[in-house]
């Protein structure tokens, strides 16, 4: 029993549950009441969040901790273990959570029901930490399901009919995915030595022999299932509905972090339980690659056509997360490193983009792309951040996006996957062009709106530091990680090293 690990899981979750109970009992006592001011709430949440992040990070980065809580079923314990992948993901989650959390303090005045929001926000952080620290597939599945259930109320936060329908859609797609994953877990439980994560997997070849076809089907269903959370074709439709309707900071964490849980689950399932060697060269790998590439292209196309700003960003997430999935599906060291890098970089960038969209919503109630004109003069700092995020997402050096895409393309070219080894980079490039096409016009119109616009919209608009600082920090990260890539690449290469892979450029 590792106390630090346990506390870092329980602290945010308990705080969240307390807030939720408070909010619920308030509803029960007084049905009709003016929304009360809650001056104590932001400081309390800020303290809890900061302390938990500090605890989580210290638990993650000091030693290889592990802990068994109790046995859930059939000799399968709820088991936590900190390894290279946990550290990577939990750090991403924590950084994003802090940024979006501080941003929320001001933003949520706009939305109301702050207690409920922060309750679920903190609880979800606890659940995600649990997910990242999971040491076997069943524990991971437990937190995966919880994550869906806890994040659903963030989607329907504003209570409009559209939001509720989107939340239900999110819930059912996610459940569908989770059950697909569960099918894979059932299969793997039968054919693996253990469901504990071990680098390279633990498939028992003697019991598999004769049933390869079935095991592959199981793995494929698992990939499709966990792919739902990552917005992979054919079950991506929930993402553009659910992400835009949430309050902007919630959209930011949904798009930046929650979708990455699908990526985490795939890494765990494919690389740590099955083992990459088993599916290399099979129809499973090829179908996976093709689906990922199709999603990359289709997501960008849809984003390009979309006029709602947040919805455009959501389609962009569909496309960008499939970059990561494509990197994973190649099953080569270089592409794996690229996938890990893109996980981190996309999280930072997409979180930032949604927070920018939130600023526009908060200050002007702008939701359409056409409305975003002349904003470069009214809020230059925000617009500059947006520009940096855009460049990073497109992948223009020296921003961070360039590094990850470089590794992905290089990984594809070096793989022996036939047509895909050169088709992949082409699709990535096309998609990057489309990305430029759907992000940069806003920059152009922001700084150069044309003459007739100047009259109508003028005057600088100040925004709160609580909203601005997270944006600046994230934008700085998006650039600095590109200028000093060794911080990320060094660690990612090390993480690929556990499979005995050596990565050199």
């Amino acid at each position: 029993m590792d106390i630090l690990l346990l506390v870092s899981l329980l602290l945010p979750a308990t705080a969240g549950i307390c807030l939720l109970l408070g909010s619920f009992s308030e509803h029960l006592r007084a049905v009709k009441q003016e929304p009360r001011k809650l001056p104590w709430l932001p400081p309390v949440v800020a303290v809890v969040l900061t302390v938990s992040v500090a605890l989580v990070l210290s638990a993650a980065w000091t030693g290889r901790r592990s802990m068994t809580l109790f046995t859930l079923v059939d000799g399968l314990p709820v088991y936590f273990k900190v390894d290279e992948i946990s550290r990577w993901f939990v750090t991403i989650v924590s950084v994003i959570w802090l940024a979006a959390g501080f941003y929320s303090f001001v933003y949520l005045k706009h939305e109301g029901e702050e207690k409920r929001y922060f309750g679920f926000y903190l609880l979800l952080y606890g659940v995600l930490v649990g997910l990242d620290f999971s040491g076997n597939l069943v524990t991971m599945y437990l937190f995966y399901e919880l994550m869906t259930l806890v994040s659903m109320p963030l989607v329907l936060h504003n209570g409009s009919r559209e939001a509720i329908m989107a939340a239900l859609k999110y819930l059912f797609y996610s459940m569908c995915g989770a059950y697909g994953g569960l099918f894979g877990i059932y299969v793997l439980y039968r054919y693996c030595d253990s469901l504990t994560f071990t680098a390279g997997g633990s498939l028992n070849m003697t019991s598999v022999s004769g049933h390869e076809g079935f095991v592959l089907v199981g793995i494929f269903v698992m990939i499709l299932g966990f792919g739902v959370k990552a917005g992979m074709l054919p079950l991506h439709a929930w993402l553009p509905s659910a992400h835009p309707v949430a309050p902007s900071p919630a959209s930011a964490v949904l798009s930046g972090v929650i979708v990455k849980s699908g990526v985490l689950a795939l890494i765990r399932g494919v690389f740590y339980v099955v083992g990459a060697d088993f599916i290399r060269g099979t129809w499973v790998q090829y179908t996976w690659m093709i689906l990922a590439l199709l999603t990359v292209f289709m997501g960008s196309m849809l984003a390009f056509r979309e006029q709602g700003f947040k919805k455009r960003l959501a389609y962009s997430t569909v496309s960008q997360v499939s970059y990561i999935l494509f990197g994973l599906s190649l099953l080569t060291p270089m592409a794996y490193v690229g996938a890990l890098l893109h996980t981190a970089i996309h999280a930072v960038v997409k979180c930032g983009l949604f927070l920018v969209a939130g600023v526009f919503l908060y200050c002007f109630e702008y939701t359409k792309v056409d409305e975003l004109k002349g904003l470069g003069k009214r809020m230059p700092a925000v617009m500059w951040c947006y520009t940096l995020f855009s460049l990073a997402l497109i992948g223009i050096p020296p921003t961070a996006g360039f590094i990850s895409k470089w590794y992905l393309a290089e990984g594809a070219l070096k793989s022996d996957t036939g047509v895909i080894s050169w088709l992949g980079p082409i699709v990535l490039l096309l998609s990057a062009l489309l990305t430029a096409g759907y992000l940069l016009p806003i920059v152009m119109k922001g700084f150069f709106p044309g003459e007739e616009e100047d009259e109508k919209h003028s005057g600088k608009v100040r925004i709160s530091w609580f909203m601005l600082i997270p944006l600046i920090v994230l934008a700085a990260l998006a650039v600095l990680l590109g200028v000093f890539p060794q911080i990320l690449t060094g660690y990612a290469v090390e993480a690929a090293g556990v499979f005995g892979w050596e990565v050199g450029l």
Partner: protein, 492 residues
């Protein structure tokens, strides 16, 4: 004397029932107190029986030759009896509040208590004839309960109920006759009683008879294509729907199927034959069919009833895998499903009792009016979906594990069906939850009837069931070990 105790636990509910109808009670409260005390007393006796298990069998009545009414307690029977003994007192407590103000309460409680005895009779049956006897009796005793409200709908439903039950019994009877003819004995013997010499080359006929009797007993579990009666029977008062038509009666069907499969025909005769695949196919179809119908249904009790149809077929799926592990999964789901489904039915009943509303679109925003009931309902919904940490996950895990280990294509399809059904379950349960808690921002709470959570008589059973779901979900180890022992005994 030791064996006589088995007869007592079966008879006490009968006597209580008769006393309720003949005795003059000074007030309603006295009648309820009497009923509850007798039920608890009987449950205590059942638990004593389970703790100090009588070894021998008790012949109550002998017709002729080896045809007799005999009682005996074995592992599987103990599980079923123990489950009933836990559920009945709680269900009665709930019924006291639910039935308040209804006409003909006395008759209701009379039959309600008697069903307890009949169910125990089925659990304690030593041979196929005894089981068949109690099985028939259960159909007849529950009939007045279905008819209770005496509306036209209720009478039509009870007619359907009767036809299905009698039809099923007729099919089952064919099986009984053949078991008596081709078996070495009429008793239940682990591993089966079939006399292979007598059967000779008539194995295909025996497979057919197995399918016929399987279907006959499975009418009670509402297996497709015999499932129409169960949603209709939902017109009965909720305590009846919850305890009998979601748990006792339907589980009796599953229990009978376990008995004939493992103790009469024997899995050695059946495993790997077309008979197994036929029934497995029917069961897999039912798993998906029940859920799809539940999704379409807008009446909350009928929706839950269709969900029962599907879940009971989970149990049957475990049974027809015909491996010890499959039986473990089946028994686990029988046990856990009872708690989950009775809990969700009781929640639905509490809402109907308080507000008179029974359609799902009428439940918008009710989560704020009756928070406790809806929180409990949410837990039961999550359990039914199979979220880890609650008991539904455990039983599904074992069912899927058993199916995987059998390395059989049909069983693999069955696992897929389980998961499809889990998804549909999520959809039809969580829409209710989301509606109740998040009706939308423009929702006018003043429109709702002014109701509160129900009183302690309804809440105590609900809280107890939730605790059981969580306990079974988190520490299933010992229960599963016990079930594994029972399964091992039932197969050898």
């Amino acid at each position: 004397m030791n064996e006589m105790r088995m007869l007592f636990v079966v008879l006490i509910p009968f006597i209580t029932g008769i006393l309720i109808s003949v005795m003059k009670f000074r007030s309603r409260k006295n009648m309820l107190l009497f009923t509850e005390v007798m039920a608890i007393l009987n449950s205590i006796l059942v638990f004593l029986l389970l703790l100090y298990r009588p070894e021998g069998a008790l012949t109550v009545f002998r017709f002729t030759g080896n045809l007799s009414i005999r009682l005996q307690l074995d592992g599987m029977g103990a599980l079923f009896a123990g489950m009933s003994a836990i559920l009945w007192p709680f269900a009665l407590l709930y019924a006291f509040e639910y039935m308040k103000g209804e006409k003909g309460e006395k008759t209701f409680f009379m039959f309600y208590v008697i069903t307890y005895g009949v169910t125990l009779g089925i659990a304690l049956s030593e041979n196929i004839l005894t089981m068949y006897f109690f099985f028939e009796m259960l159909s007849l005793i529950t009939l007045p309960l279905v008819m209770f409200t005496r509306t036209r709908e209720a009478i039509l439903a009870s007619r359907t109920y009767l036809y299905y039950m009698l039809g099923g019994a007729a099919f089952a009877f064919v099986g009984v006759i053949f078991i008596l003819t081709y078996g070495c004995t009429s008793s239940f013997v682990p591993g089966g009683v079939m006399n292979l010499v007598k059967i000779g080359d008539k194995t295909n006929m025996m497979y057919l008879i197995y399918i016929i009797s399987f279907c006959g007993f499975a009418v009670k579990t509402a297996m497709w294509p015999f499932s129409a009666w169960l949603p209709k029977a939902g017109v009965a008062p909720t305590p009846v729907t919850a305890l009998l038509h979601a748990v006792a009666v339907v589980n009796t069907g599953a229990f009978a199927v376990m008995r004939i499969t493992y103790f009469s025909f024997g899995i050695r005769l059946l495993r790997g034959t077309w008979a197994q695949y036929t029934v497995m196919g029917l069961v897999i179809v039912t798993i998906v069919y029940g859920c799809s119908r539940a999704l379409k249904e807008t009446h909350i009790k009928r929706r839950l009833a269709w969900s029962t149809v599907s879940n009971l077929s989970y149990i049957l799926f475990g049974v027809v895998l015909m491996t010890p592990l499959g039986l473990v999964g089946a028994m686990a789901h029988m046990l856990f499903h009872s708690f989950m489904k009775i809990c969700s039915f009781f929640c639905a009943g509490a809402v109907m009792h308080k507000t008179g509303k029974s359609y799902i679109h009428e439940l918008d925003g009710m989560g704020r009016k009756m928070p406790r009931v809806f929180v409990i309902f949410t837990v039961s919904a999550l359990a039914l979906m199979g979220v880890p940490g609650l008991c539904g996950f455990v039983s599904k895990w074992y069912l899927a594990k058993a199916a995987m280990e059998s390395e059989d294509t049909v069983a693999w399809i069955g696992v897929a069906a389980l998961l499809i059904s889990a998804l549909l379950t999520a959809i039809y349960m969580l829409t209710i939850v989301v509606r109740a808690f998040f009706p939308g921002k423009d929702f006018d709470y003043d429109r709702l009837p002014d109701v509160k959570d129900p009183g302690w008589r309804m809440l105590v059973p609900l809280v107890f069931f939730v605790v059981m779901m969580i306990v079974f979900g988190l520490c299933s180890g010992q229960v599963m070990e016990l079930l594994q022992e029972i399964a091992a005994m039932s197969v050898s």
